[in-house]
Amino acid sequence: MPVDTQSPILRVTGLNKSYGERAALIDASFELWPGEVLAIVGESGSGKTTLLNALAARDKPDSGSVEFHIKDSGLTDIFKMTEAQRRLLARTDWGFVHQNSADGLRMEVSAGANVGERLMALGQRHYGKIRATACDWLARVEIDPARIDDLPRHFSGGMRQRLQIARNLVTQPRLVFMDEPTSGLDVSVQAKLLDLLRQLTQHLGLASIIVTHDLAVARLLAHRMIVMRRGCIVETGLTDQLLDDPQHPYTQLLVSSVLQP
């Protein structure tokens, strides 16, 4: 997929967010380019989830801006859009994969309906075609298409996550947010999921922002990495460089405390 090198797909400038007296996010700025995968890494309390929620317009920051590149309009401040525009964006051009799959799926409707919902929301009205598209996507995330009518309630954790991914990718979004997508899964299941994510993001040229506390996830999936501590970005850079040669003392601490496989 051709990558537009002329404009970042996301530009973040000076984001701040506090909860009462506690500053959860301090002056966060960076850019994301089309097709680029960025990992936001830090321990719990580092502000990485606050940052993700601000980027995905789930929580309004106290100051700063988040600009998303809209076709034909260029970089647009997402908090200056109307609620309607943001919601449309969230259903089409963006994806959000939740840590807990139950938050990102309709557990009471079939896998097929979960995958097809965005298409139906956008006005697709041919049951056969919607179903075929859903089957196609289930196969792509390595779920047996014969399970299209099964409820997510009866899927394993790994399968639910893959279903969540399919549900998000069906509208071919340009940017996908992921919040600890592999936590809570067995190691072997994680590995398979990461492999799938890597293949999909490469193949589809997705830009992606992945929040994780696990450096191995960053290593495997991300081109670039941001390290956060106490609400601040302490270091950013190419993933391999950062992990092999961390500059900031905190990054060094993080890297050195990871058990080598």
């Binding site: 409707v109 309906a113 965005r118 929301a121 956008l122 049951y127 299209i148």
Partner: protein, 314 residues
């Protein structure tokens, strides 16, 4: 503009009556005070201006319980005038107990003319059916609505459904239809079948059988919907597009019966099933009592003229 209709030349068969019941002097005309009626009419005007949109209104406690037609009654009470001719039906019939009760309420509080004939009425208040006979521009039909929110079963929070309607996000409704087809092979909703009004709002037409849905489309009459307990009014103005939701390859379909009406022979109307014995014997009769009687008289009239024709040949 809402207008109070006067019964124009009615045929000799018109059955209107004023029962020997003095209007109850303790209450205002049509029971509600004028201020309340104005409030409701303003809500109605908003509803007509935005077809299919649920307008909140300050529903009052009425002498009938919430859930028993108070919304329809409040709408009727706000538009009824001394020269109106009122028909009240429930399940298509003028004689079911709730229809009788509501009709008596209006007789007691307005003394307007009442009728069982669809074509003689200017106002028709109905629960769960649309009359078989086509309505005209001079008529208003008022539906009693239990649950105005078409997505309530899927999303009970009004705060959320309000946003969905505002943003035209109706994916959830189609998900439900998709699930039905995946599970049963066809859409499993048979009444209160959701419709898209004026290409904008998805609306609950009230628990009319889906058989009646097509009648709402481009209807010359004004259609008003009142939900008293849930405190919403909505409307479909005359000649408005009303489409039942479906898929291109699984389109909306109405019900059909194998048998005709046992009384009048109709094959075009909604039929009620009546159990006749305890061996499983059953017959089907028209749900719309006025329609059935009219068809029956036509049958009898043609039987008479056939008999006359035969006798002439002797």
């Amino acid at each position: 503009m809402l207008k109070i209709n006067h019964p124009s030349e009615t045929s000799t068969e018109t059955l209107t009556s004023h029962e020997n019941q003095a209007v109850d002097q303790h209450f205002n005309f049509a029971y509600l005070d004028e201020r309340t009626k104005r409030m409701i009419r303003r809500a109605i005007l908003k509803a007509v201006a935005i077809p299919g949109y649920q307008v909140p209104f300050g529903s009052r406690e009425m002498p009938l319980p919430y859930g028993w037609g108070t919304g329809g009654i409040q709408v009727t009470a706000s538009v009824i005038g001394p020269h109106d001719v009122l028909k009240v039906i429930d399940q298509g019939s003028d004689d079911t107990v709730n229809a009788v009760n509501i009709r008596r309420f209006f007789q007691r509080t307005t003394n307007v003319a009442i009728t069982t004939q669809t074509k003689a009425a200017t106002l028709i208040q109905t629960r769960h059916r649309i009359p078989e006979m086509a309505l005209t521009e001079d008529q208003i039909i008022i539906y009693q609505v239990p649950v105005p929110e078409p997505m309530q079963r899927l999303e009970p929070r009004e705060r959320e459904t309000r946003s969905l309607h505002g943003l035209s996000e109706y994916g959830l409704m189609h998900v439900k239809l998709y699930e039905d087809i995946a599970r049963y092979g066809h859409i499993a909703t048979t009444y209160d079948y959701p419709v898209l009004v004026n290409n904008r709002y998805v609306m609950a037409p009230s628990p009319i059988p889906k058989f009646d849905n097509p009648k709402m489309h481009m209807n010359p009459a004004l259609q008003l919907f009142g939900a008293g307990r849930e405190k919403r009014i909505y409307a479909v103005p005359p000649y408005t597009s009303v489409e039942s939701l479906g898929f291109d390859d699984y389109p909306f379909e109405i019900q059909r019966w194998d048998a005709p009406c046992e009384i009048c022979g109709s094959r075009d109307s909604f039929l009620d099933e009546v159990v006749t014995d305890d061996q499983g014997g059953r017959i089907f009769v028209c749900s719309d009592s006025d329609y059935c009687e009219t068809e029956q008289s036509k049958l009898e009239a043609s039987a008479v003229s056939t008999a006359q024709l035969v006798s002439k040949d002797d």
